[in-house]
């Protein structure tokens, strides 16, 4: 059983220092690498209603944990200017937004369209699945292998994925390990 959170639930979370107990920023958006299957960084806003953007970004290496109530960092020095971090985070390539992408199995069955990423709670940004709009128009959750083929408009998932379309995050949390062991993943 794993606790999971969607990307949209991470947006707006406070970024809190472990050392100082201060809310130094809040999450503006996730920088997601579909190839790596993980969140590589976060863009930030200042704290407070309509307080505006913070120039600094938070790389995954500097994330202590993404939780259900806060993103924890060691201290304020964990927030770095875009020029000081890798281009993947500081100047991410465009066209990596997977939202709206078609999800196809290797056999060519369409499972739906990507709505959001699903992140492992307590991790530094490990994406374990996607929230999708299913063919019937409902919301479903699918587990992901660690690597997958992405084209910019579609992504191809292993065939067993179709047996693991869950109706909620709790179901996906329970299914992730079984799915990965079925694929022979760690």
């Amino acid at each position: 059983m794993r606790l999971l959170v969607t990307g949209s639930a991470i947006r707006g979370l406070p970024v809190v220092t472990i050392d100082g107990g201060e809310d130094v920023a809040e999450v503006r958006d996730l920088i997601y690498s579909p190839e790596a299957g993980r969140v590589v960084g976060l863009t930030l806003n200042k704290r407070g209603f309509l307080a505006g953007r913070r120039r600094e970004v938070l790389t995954a290496e500097n994330i202590h944990a993404i939780g259900s109530d806060a993103v924890m960092v060691d201290d304020e020095a964990s927030l770095m200017l875009p020029a000081a971090v890798s281009a993947e985070v500081g100047d991410p390539p465009s066209g990596r937004d997977v939202t709206g992408n078609e999800v196809l199995t290797e056999q060519g069955k369409r499972l739906g369209k990507v709505k959001d990423v699903v992140v492992l709670v307590g991790s530094d940004g490990e994406v374990v699945g996607y929230e999708i709009e299913t063919e019937s128009g409902g919301t479903g959750y699918i587990p992901l292998p660690s690597q997958l083929a992405v084209s910019g408009s579609a992504l191809v998932v292993p065939d067993p994925t179709q047996d693991f379309v869950e109706s909620d995050l709790v179901g996906l949390g329970a299914a992730v390990d079984e799915f990965r062991s079925r694929l022979g993943m760690p």
Binding site: L13, V16, D19, G20, G21, H64, A65, G67, D69, A70
Partner: protein, 147 residues
């Protein structure tokens, strides 16, 4: 014998030399990293004064004994001003685990009245050992996630 801080709020400060009552306990300033009560606060607002923990000669069940009135002093810096305003108080603060989970609000803490050592933080029904305390600030007290 450990003591809960909430139970001690309102306890009078008494001068050992004059036996005069000098005020009543309102807040405590705690150094989370040292897991230690660093000073006690009497009074509120402009009348607030601090007693450094090493000036307390006895934290008893009925009174907090200090040598004399000179043990009480006004805030000397921003840190102490924050302390007398209760801003360094652990009680009432949000408690976050280092895994980013909101554990609830700190309702009390348990300390050793002989040494001022903080032993546990009370969060709802649970007590978090002081050894799990990682940091504290205006937003939250951060504790190590259990398990």
């Amino acid at each position: 014998m450990s003591e809960r801080f909430i139970a001690a709020v309102g306890r009078k400060f008494v001068s050992r030399t004059s036996a005069e009552e000098l005020g009543a306990l309102t807040h405590a300033a705690v150094d989370v990293k040292k897991r230690q009560v660093t000073s006690l606060v009497t009074g509120k607002g402009r009348k607030a004064a601090l007693v450094d923990w090493d000036q307390v000669s006895g934290f008893g069940p009925d009174a907090v004994m200090v040598a004399d009135e000179s043990a009480l002093h006004a805030p000397r810096d921003d840190h102490e001003s924050a302390a007398v305003d209760g801003k360094l108080e652990l009680i009432g603060k949000r408690v976050l685990s280092d895994m980013g989970e909101d554990l609830g609000e700190a309702s009390d803490f348990v300390f050793d009245p002989a040494t001022g050592a903080v032993e546990t933080l009370v969060v709802g029904e649970k007590e978090v050992p002081a050894t799990s305390l990682l940091g504290a600030g205006s937003y939250a007290v951060v504790v190590k996630a259990s398990g």
